[in-house]
């Protein structure tokens, strides 16, 4: 391995998560390079989302370490992880249903805002300026993902595809260095998948590293440079798409053992 440590934005060292007797994530180590699109694939129940949850602080790993930019963040609280620069979307979309799209994204800005209780209580000039700036930034993000026209709609009233986009805009609003997308193309038409891939590349151009979980091999092969395959919580393969695709263990995990 010739990897310079500084090239890695995120390193997982032997991360294990047990729920009672069930080992959901089993001794997974991997490293994600700055500025790449990294994919995590595997059959249902392989522990992909659990791994995400361990990285974002929703769960605390039973053992092992999560290292962001050389700093150990194992066991940090979700809001601390967000502040440190990891944002995520959810497999089953978790928007703030009864807030407008604009407000959803403005909530994403929360962690980069400075207004305190008193500023808001008395609407001090600094607070007004910050609100105006944040509104502008939120609108820019809505334009970026292509749903600016829906800014004043309730998130709940958006069509499915736009909800996924809104969730990405909200995550980007936290100014992440690393963006975790949990099955962003689930339930998409082929056309929507193409548009999503374009959006992910645009996100990369903003200087955000992307780590995504995806089932659709076409999407994964199309955009990611490196893939890790998880099965029963274990890492069974790692490498560039064409290599992983032909790996017998991966084929077995996806298609089952041939008789």
């Amino acid at each position: 391995m010739t990897d310079n440590l500084d090239d890695n934005i995120l390193v997982l060292n032997n991360v294990t998560k047990r729920f009672g007797g069930l080992v959901a994530v089993d001794d997974v180590s991997l490293s994600i390079k700055r500025g790449e699109i990294f994919a995590l694939i595997g059959p249902n129940g392989a522990g992909k989302t659990t791994l995400f949850n361990n990285v974002t602080g929703l769960f605390k790993p039973t053992s092992g370490h999560v290292i962001l930019n050389g700093k150990d963040i194992t066991g940090s609280k979700p809001h601390e992880v967000a502040r440190l620069g990891i944002a995520r979307t959810f497999q089953n979309i978790r928007l703030f249903d009864y807030m407008t799209c604009l407000d959803n994204v403005r909530v994403g800005r929360h962690v980069r805002m400075h207004s305190k209780l008193w500023d808001g209580l008395f609407k001090l000039p600094a607070e007004r300026r910050e609100e105006a700036r944040v509104t502008e930034e939120a609108m820019e993000l809505l334009r970026f993902v292509g749903i600016a026209r829906q800014a004043h709609q309730y998130a709940r009233n958006l069509p499915y595809g736009q909800q996924r986009r809104l969730e990405i805009a909200r995550a980007l609003a936290t100014e992440p260095k690393l963006l975790l997308l949990d099955e962003p193309a689930a339930g998409f038409t082929p056309q929507e998948k193409v548009e999503l891939m374009a959006l992910v590349r645009k996100i990369l151009d903003r200087g955000v590293t992307v780590w995504l979980i995806e089932h659709d091999m076409k999407v994964v092969m199309g955009i990611s440079e490196r893939i890790v395959v998880l099965d029963h919580g274990e890492k069974i393969a790692e490498g560039p798409p064409e290599e992983v695709r032909t790996d017998p263990r991966v084929i077995e995990a996806y298609l089952g053992k041939s008789a």
Partner: protein, 411 residues
């Protein structure tokens, strides 16, 4: 050649944009409330021959408006069900009562304090807010029903504590002779029984209902402005995000524990405020004033008015207060006189097991109150003036039920 014509100077009327503002529902309600609040004292003085009784009632209703605005922050904005809100009200009232009466003379410290109301109002606020934070710190990890039970317990404990520490608080005998607020100067006139308009200096509120009315009017107005500001700030959005989805809110970098603590503390501080006002205006504070029924009444007010909507909860508070303290007590005599006037006067007399129509009506007033609440919630489940959010939620909820019903019918 230019087509540009200098814009005609806009009149004051145009600049106020009254037309647009009236179309905005909330502004219209605020305007109407303001108008009623200003006109009400004059009308009630005029119609009741200078009696200030109704103004005193309205001043007391103002306490509940303040409580409703505060509880709305906790329940309506942040979505935390608080069933012990009266506890903070009690803490505010007792804070003022203890330090503005002779009470502590009889206590182990043998010294009575008489701090001014204007100072103690803020002390009450701070102490109630701290109590909110202290209660919130260990309990806000709980969600939904569990939090409701814990706050319910807190609401039971606090009045009990004030009752049992009778060495300090006088226990069940209550604290009386509480100081009234004083001002360096005040305007008096015919409305207060004086012969002409003049300036009184210094002025004690004593038991002048009009002075209290003005005071609570100012307090409520300030509360409305501040809570409106909060709702449209970074913190207000964070509360709403937590109410909608706590996991997603945390993933967006919101510290859910401190944000919920702030909701609890700010909600509590309003009732601390209200408590100090309550103690001063009645001159008497007893543990019985802060029982569970007070918490529930305030909760009913905000649910009925429209949770999360500030003008809604104000209207809700006034409506429920009006039903409880004006409509229901007036009912028995009204029914009696109605019976006499339609020739059924014999029903009014007590005979055998029949207690008389007046007493019978008296017996069923709370039943009637329940019926009124149930029918109002059936007719307007979203509240009188709901926030847009509540309206949508209920629409979707019923929509889903319809869809489910259709699916079942097809199955």
């Amino acid at each position: 050649m230019s087509n540009r014509v200098a814009a005609p100077p806009r009149s004051l009327f145009a600049r106020l944009r009254l037309r647009e503002r009236i179309r905005d529902r909330d502004t219209a309600i605020y305007g109407l409330l303001l108008l009623v609040a200003l006109v009400f004292p004059a009308i009630s003085l005029y119609t009741s021959d200078g009696s200030t009784y109704l103004i005193a009632v309205a001043g007391h209703a103002g306490t509940y408006v303040l409580l409703a605005i505060g509880l709305n922050v906790v329940v309506g904005f942040a979505g935390l069900l608080d069933l012990g809100y009266a506890a903070f009200f009690a803490i505010g009232a007792y804070t003022y009562a203890l330090f503005a009466s002779q009470q502590l003379l009889a206590s182990p410290i043998h010294h009575a304090y008489h701090f001014p109301f204007w100072l103690m109002m803020f002390v009450g606020l701070i102490i109630a807010a701290s109590a909110g934070a202290i209660l919130g710190f260990p309990t806000l990890r709980l969600r939904g029903d569990y939090l409701a039970i814990v706050t319910l317990g807190f609401g039971e404990i606090v009045p009990q504590v004030f009752q049992n520490f009778d060495q300090w608080t006088g226990g069940i005998n209550a604290i009386g002779g509480i100081d009234q607020p004083t001002l360096p100067a005040w305007v008096t006139g015919p409305w207060a029984g004086a012969d002409s308009i003049s300036i009184v200096a210094p002025f004690s509120f004593s038991f002048d209902p009009i002075a209290y009315y003005v005071l609570i009017f100012i307090l409520v107005s300030v509360a409305i402005v501040l809570v409106n500001n909060l709702q449209r700030s970074r913190l207000g959005r964070a509360w709403m995000a937590i109410r909608e989805d706590e996991v997603a809110a945390a993933a967006m970098g919101i510290n859910t524990v401190t944000t919920k603590l702030l909701a609890f503390g700010i909600g509590a501080s309003f009732s601390g405020f209200a408590g100090a006002y309550y103690g001063a205006s009645f001159g008497l504070v007893s543990p019985d004033d802060f029982l569970f029924i007070v918490s529930i009444t305030v909760l009913v007010m905000i649910v009925l008015g429209g949770m999360g909507s500030i003008p809604g909860v104000i209207v809700g508070a006034i409506t429920v207060y009006f039903i409880l303290n004006w409509f229901l007590p007036l009912l028995p005599p009204a029914v009696q006189s109605l019976a006499s006037s339609i020739g059924l006067g014999s029903l009014n007399a007590r005979s055998g097991d029949w207690p008389g129509l007046g007493n019978e009506t008296q017996n069923v007033t709370l039943l009637l109150f329940g019926l009124i609440l149930v029918s109002m919630m059936l007719v307007r489940p979203q509240g009188l003036f709901p926030s847009r959010v509540r309206e949508q939620e209920l629409k979707h909820a019923t929509g889903q039920e319809d869809e489910a019903a259709i699916e079942q019918a097809h199955a």
